[in-house]
């Protein structure tokens, strides 16, 4: 082909290529800004001390969301507390102890499957198992256990990923100095993974706070401040859904949405900061 013609064709292709990519990227960024900006702008003006400290009245149409905040903390806390040790231990098992046999492949496979199950299924299961079968009713504990199951794969995966980034040579180095396996894990491997595990944990919390479908079916919708693990309560996400779908109060809906976004943004920001600040120190 005539080299000059070839060059011109290439030039045209280049312009189209970069044009489209730039356009799509810009669109994505714009959507992001609009979503967050719109909700925060509309919501912030309605967030005040009263909103944060008062209990909701008239199904949330008036008053604040104090009991909802407490409920959110409760459910999320229970879920994370249950999931964390199990998740980390499971990840350690996969990376350090599991020998590549059929059983392990299966266990690992099911862990991945668990990650892909939609939240509404967890909700159905939680409803059938914890609420009905175990008779826990709509309660913090039912929701917490369901949440624990949901965030478990996230935790396992995050921990596993960061365990995997620990170079094999650290393990060899440690064992060759006469360390036992558990000494190696606690003394060398886990310290390397702190940022990774922490990031996973925070992301899990974020996911738990934002969850609504599963919570709705397992925790119920009580607007009272829960006093025990077996009380029903309501989380912010569920509250937001209820407000939005029933159109009770635009103001309260925006305020709740803004608060929810804010919390989640802070949490994710923290996770990101941790992984970028500390993640680099693993070296190699």
């Amino acid at each position: 082909m005539d080299p000059r013609k070839l060059r011109n064709i290439k030039k045209a292709k280049n312009i189209a290529f970069y044009g489209i990519i730039g356009l799509l990227a810009a669109a994505t960024l714009t959507v992001l800004i609009i979503i967050i900006g719109y909700i925060l702008l509309n919501g912030f003006s309605h967030i005040d001390v009263e909103f944060l400290t008062q209990e909701p009245r008239k199904m949330g149409k008036e008053g604040g969301i104090f009991s909802v905040i407490i409920g959110t903390l409760y459910v999320t806390g229970v879920g994370i507390l249950i999931a964390t040790p199990i998740g980390i231990a499971a990840a350690i098992y996969f990376t350090e102890y599991a020998k590549e046999g059929k059983g392990v492949i299966l266990i690992r496979f099911f862990t991945e499957i668990l990650a892909g199950i939609p939240s509404i299924i967890f909700g159905l299961f939680g409803f059938a198992f914890f609420v009905i079968f175990l008779g826990m009713g709509w309660s913090v504990i039912s929701g917490g256990l369901t949440l624990a199951m949901m965030v478990l794969p996230t935790l396992v995966r995050a921990t596993e990923e960061s365990l995997k980034t620990v170079p094999m040579s650290y393990r060899e180095g440690s064992l060759s100095l006469g360390a036992t396996k558990w000494q190696m894990i606690t003394g060398v491997i886990l310290p390397c993974c702190k940022p990774g595990i922490l990031t996973g944990l925070i992301l899990g919390i974020g996911r738990a706070i934002g969850e609504s479908a599963a919570i709705m079916l397992t925790v119920g919708g009580s607007l009272r401040v829960p006093t025990s693990l077996f009380d029903s309560t309501r989380t912010m996400a569920v509250h937001l859904y209820t407000l939005a779908s029933e159109g009770l109060s635009q103001e309260k809906t925006y305020a709740t949405a803004a608060l929810l976004i804010l919390i989640v943004l802070v949490i994710n920001g923290a996770a990101n900061l941790i992984s970028s600040k500390l993640g680099g120190s693993n070296g190699n």
Partner: protein, 295 residues
């Protein structure tokens, strides 16, 4: 020392099995609750029945399946090209520090609870569709639904929701392509575009593919957002402005007031959803393992 180590190993093994136990329990209880009614009604009638009216004893979920499918496909059509374009833009074109900020923002999108997306769709997208898209559409088809709750709304919102998954996984896998490939291509006299299209994207294809599958899974399983914006009409959609109901949305919405039989039917819907997701997951797992194997 030895026994101590052995004990630790056992405890850890138990934790590892927890996920498996969970999946088992989930499967068991969903099927236990939904299977009787499913068998009683007949699987074929259940899946291919075109009328969903649980209060009248009509349990045909084809409209629900059609609803889920239509918004899922719609979201992929919008989300996949955008996501890959963003990934390329981030990994190869944008300066490092800006790319980092951009990626950070994208990850923020991932963290926003789905119910917030639903709310946003409800207060911004639906009115926008009513105001701007509908008049144009009406020009061709005066009979079209006028509420704004629609396949289109669901697809757009879901596209935004799956975008972070696609962007960040694709970006990771493009960035993970060794710089040596890039250098080799440039050293052979290729320009940047040729390098991206012919070397980087093919080298990252397994990662990109699995990001798409994962995004699809998320789109199918999404509940609260679609619940708020698709209109929840159990009808097979004719146009993209028709309202639809999805499998997930139907379960979430009707569970609250369902009679015991109705509940069982919803569990049966859950079974269908569960099976579809499982199949998709398995495909994703296998494809990742197969493609990832030789890289």
């Amino acid at each position: 020392m030895k026994t101590y180590e052995k004990a630790i190993e056992k405890v850890i093994l138990l934790s590892a099995i927890m996920a498996t136990i969970s999946v088992g329990l989930i499967t068991f209880f969903i099927f236990r609750s939904g299977l009787p009614v499913l068998l009683e009604y007949g699987i074929i009638d259940f899946i291919f029945g075109t009328t969903w009216s649980p209060t009248n004893g009509d349990y045909g979920i084809l409209p629900l399946i059609a609803g889920t499918l239509s918004i899922t496909i719609g979201s992929l059509i919008i989300g996949v090209p955008t996501g890959i374009a963003c990934a390329v833009f981030l990994a190869e074109i944008l300066q490092k520090k800006w790319a980092k900020a951009f990626k950070f923002s994208i990850e923020l999108l991932a963290g926003i609870p789905s119910v917030v997306y639903g709310f946003f769709g409800l207060v911004v997208l639906i009115p926008a569709i009513r105001e701007y898209i509908l008049p144009i559409y009406q020009f061709f088809d005066p009979e079209v639904s006028q509420t704004g709750f629609s396949v289109l709304a669901g697809a757009v919102i879901l596209a935004i929701m799956i975008l972070p998954t696609i962007v960040s996984m694709s970006e990771n896998s493009i960035a993970a392509v060794p710089v040596e490939f890039k250098e080799a291509s440039l050293a052979l006299g290729a320009n940047k575009m040729e390098t991206i299209v012919r070397v980087l994207i093919p080298a990252a294809k397994s990662g990109i593919l699995s990001s798409i599958i994962l995004g699809m899974g998320r789109a199918i399983g999404e509940t609260m957002a679609v619940l708020l914006i698709t209109g929840n009409m159990a009808k097979i959609p004719g146009t993209i402005l028709d309202p639809v109901a999805t499998l997930t949305g139907t379960i979430a919405m009707e569970m609250g007031y369902a009679s015991p039989t109705h509940q069982q039917v919803l569990f049966a819907v859950g079974i269908v959803l569960f099976v579809v997701i499982m199949i998709l997951n398995i495909i994703a797992q296998l494809s990742v393992r197969k493609i990832g194997g030789n890289a």
